[in-house]
């Protein structure tokens, strides 16, 4: 049988969404960003949101997200994506607005903006890639860096006396009444990717239903920053990151009663 007889639409089992551009990604092999970009592109395509979607890119490795997903994008200053998204969505409430941020961007320099955007319940989806490190600038300590974890600015490992403790942003924002869906996912295996896609889809749906802020953390590896092979980085993530950042839904306003401080 000739190969051309096999390559037919009816035989196709998987295709790349047209919303993922053909630009060669600048991400390191093994990086989680490419997978999550693909999931967002697929969901925006499948849910027919290209004309409604406005993405806000961060400063960090995902700064060029706008080169890879074929929708309108804005590039925010470091940490300010939730404020930028607020400006967009307040004046364009019918659009689907999301931020895509790393942990240096969201948990450190942009901590105020994310807390207040979530607390106001801005009707946006926040995609939070947490790899415990500043990837773009060469692997410095982030607020999310684990205790004793070696980075270029903690060469002897993170010392909590000097650097404080790793910050669980997702747990924090789950406490805020403005958030409707808060979850922590990963994307290192096929089952994890499928679960992650379901979580992102739920987040998008909540935004379309105007339920307030949805927040999807994706615990990720940074094999370049961690100085490991991609395989070893994923194993290290499972053994070290997952115990401290356990996966699963933290808040689902459909299922849970509202979080109360009383």
């Amino acid at each position: 049988m000739d190969v051309k007889e096999i390559i037919k639409p009816e035989n196709q089992v998987y295709g790349k969404t047209e919303l993922l551009t053909d630009n060669v990604m600048h991400y390191c092999p093994g990086c989680t960003h490419g997978v999550v970009h693909k999931l967002m592109a697929e969901l925006i395509d499948e849910m027919g949101l290209q004309e409604k979607a406005i993405g806000v890119a961060p400063v960090g490795c995902a700064v060029f997200a706008y080169n890879y997903i074929d929708i309108d994008w804005q590039e925010a200053a470091h940490g300010r994506a939730p404020a930028v998204a607020t400006g967009i969505v307040r004046l364009n409430p019918e659009k689907f607005v999301f931020t895509y941020q790393g942990d240096g961007d969201l948990a450190s320099i942009g901590a105020a903006e994310i807390i207040h955007a979530c607390n106001r319940g801005e009707n946006i989806l926040v995609v939070f890639i947490n790899n415990g490190i500043y990837g773009m600038t060469g692997g410095q300590m982030a607020p999310t860096t684990l205790e004793k974890m070696v980075t270029s600015t903690t060469p002897c490992g993170r010392d909590t006396e000097l650097n404080g403790y790793p910050l669980k942003m997702t747990d924090l924002v789950a406490q805020l009444p403005g958030t409707s869906y808060v979850t922590r996912q990963s994307a290192q295996s096929a089952p994890a990717v499928r679960k992650c896609k379901r979580a992102l889809k739920k987040g998008i749906k909540n935004v379309l239903d105007k339920k307030g802020t949805s927040f999807v953390e994706v615990v990720s590896s940074c094999n370049s920053g961690w100085k490991m092979t991609p395989v070893k980085a994923n194993k290290w993530m499972e053994e070290n990151m997952f115990p401290f950042y356990p996966l699963g839904d933290m808040k689902d306003s459909e299922k849970d009663k509202p979080v109360s401080n009383n």
């Binding site: 004309e51 200053a77 930028v84 607020t86 400006g87 364009n92 903006e113 207040h116």
Partner: protein, 358 residues
């Protein structure tokens, strides 16, 4: 009406889509007036109190990038916090209006009026080579008029514009003729008037729009900068605005903007009564600085006195304009700092002391 209240009213009436701000004296009445007026019920204009000036300017960035007509207001320390965001807005070429009702500095300084942010406003203020269009009102009426004018210029050049007022004009009450109401533009009207650069969601009919100030290719980044500089030169050619008062026969010309220009108008009258031929040049656009009128006046006068509520900032631009005109005319400076407004008599005494006592 109070100057700050008029800013709010003018924003509503000129078809503004949104305001983002953070409270700071002496301009908090802008957001207070907007919240009380609740324009979202009337014109559709949205108003939001941000968690900081940093957030406010970035909200402005996000909204402006969707083609909306948006503004923020603050006072000196708050504008410093916004400087990063203004640089991004200039780099991404977005139209918007930033209002600075200045107070004295440096640091927390004072809540009294000042003009000490002149250089910050006209030289850029944040990082990188950029300029804002800067308009300086000297009356409550101009607080009204310049809101619409600033937006017109901001959209014409796709550039941030600033109204550089001060605490005195913000707090002052005067009679004012408010503008008529204009409707907010629809997305379609924005595209028709200003092109389809905004991020409104990508239809199949166009490529995706990306609003960014980032370009890692140095050749392309230089080309971006050249485009910006060309735009700033066009502003210098087309947008110089000023007012002259009794300059026709003047031997000495006071140069002053905003509140100090009001003082100087009285100084001209006092000086004329004393037989001194003094006139006033009031720059309205601080960037572009009205160099042309200075080059016209330079050969006719004996000297310029820059009167400012700071340590002498605009005086440098006057010297530069005189120099560029090929003139050696004397340029002197008189100013008060720390929130003190000079009296008309102080200014006349300065003219006598600097030009006539030697």
């Amino acid at each position: 009406m109070k100057g700050n209240e008029v800013l709010a009213e003018a924003a509503i009436r000129c078809g503004c889509d949104g305001y983002f701000g953070y409270p700071i004296t002496p301009q908090s009445e802008v957001m207070e007036t907007l919240m009380l007026r609740a324009p979202w019920n009337e014109t559709g204009m949205k108003v939001l109190q941000a968690e900081s000036e940093v957030a406010a300017i970035n909200m402005l960035y996000g909204a402006a990038a969707t083609g909306k007509k948006v503004l923020t207001s603050s006072s000196s320390p708050g504008i410093s916090l916004m400087a990063e965001g203004i640089s991004y807005i200039a780099g991404a070429e977005l139209p918007c209006l930033v209002i600075n009702v200045q107070r004295g500095g440096p640091g927390l300084g004072t809540i009294q009026p000042s003009q000490a942010d002149y250089s910050q406003a006209v030289k850029g203020g944040g990082h990188g080579d950029y300029k804002m269009i800067v308009l300086a009102p000297s009356s409550v009426q101009e607080m009204n008029d310049f809101v619409d004018l600033a937006f017109k210029l901001a959209f014409k050049y796709r550039n941030p514009a600033m109204i550089l007022a001060d605490g005195a004009i913000g707090q002052m009450m005067e009679k004012v003729e408010l503008s008529d109401y204009k409707k907010c533009w629809t997305d379609e009207e924005v595209i028709e008037k200003w092109g389809s650069w905004a991020t409104t969601g990508k239809p199949s009919s166009r490529e995706r729009n990306v609003i960014t100030s980032l370009e890692l290719d140095s050749e392309k980044m230089e080309a971006n900068n050249q485009r910006f500089q060309k735009k700033y030169r066009q502003m210098e050619a087309e947008e110089q605005r000023y007012e002259t008062f009794q300059c026709e026969d003047a031997e000495y010309v006071l140069v002053a903007f905003g509140t100090s220009a009001r003082v100087c108008q009285k100084s001209v009258e006092i000086a004329r009564e004393k037989g001194l031929k003094v006139g006033l040049l009031r720059p309205i656009s601080l960037f572009p600085f009205p160099k042309k009128i200075i080059s016209e006046l330079a050969p006719k006068v004996k000297g310029f006195l820059s009167v400012e509520m700071n340590a002498g900032q605009m005086v440098e631009d006057i010297k530069l304009a005189v120099h560029e005109a090929g003139s050696t005319r004397r340029v002197e400076f008189f100013g008060r700092m720390g929130g003190i407004i000079p009296t008309p008599g102080d200014v006349v005494a300065a003219v006598e002391q600097k030009f006539l006592k030697e």
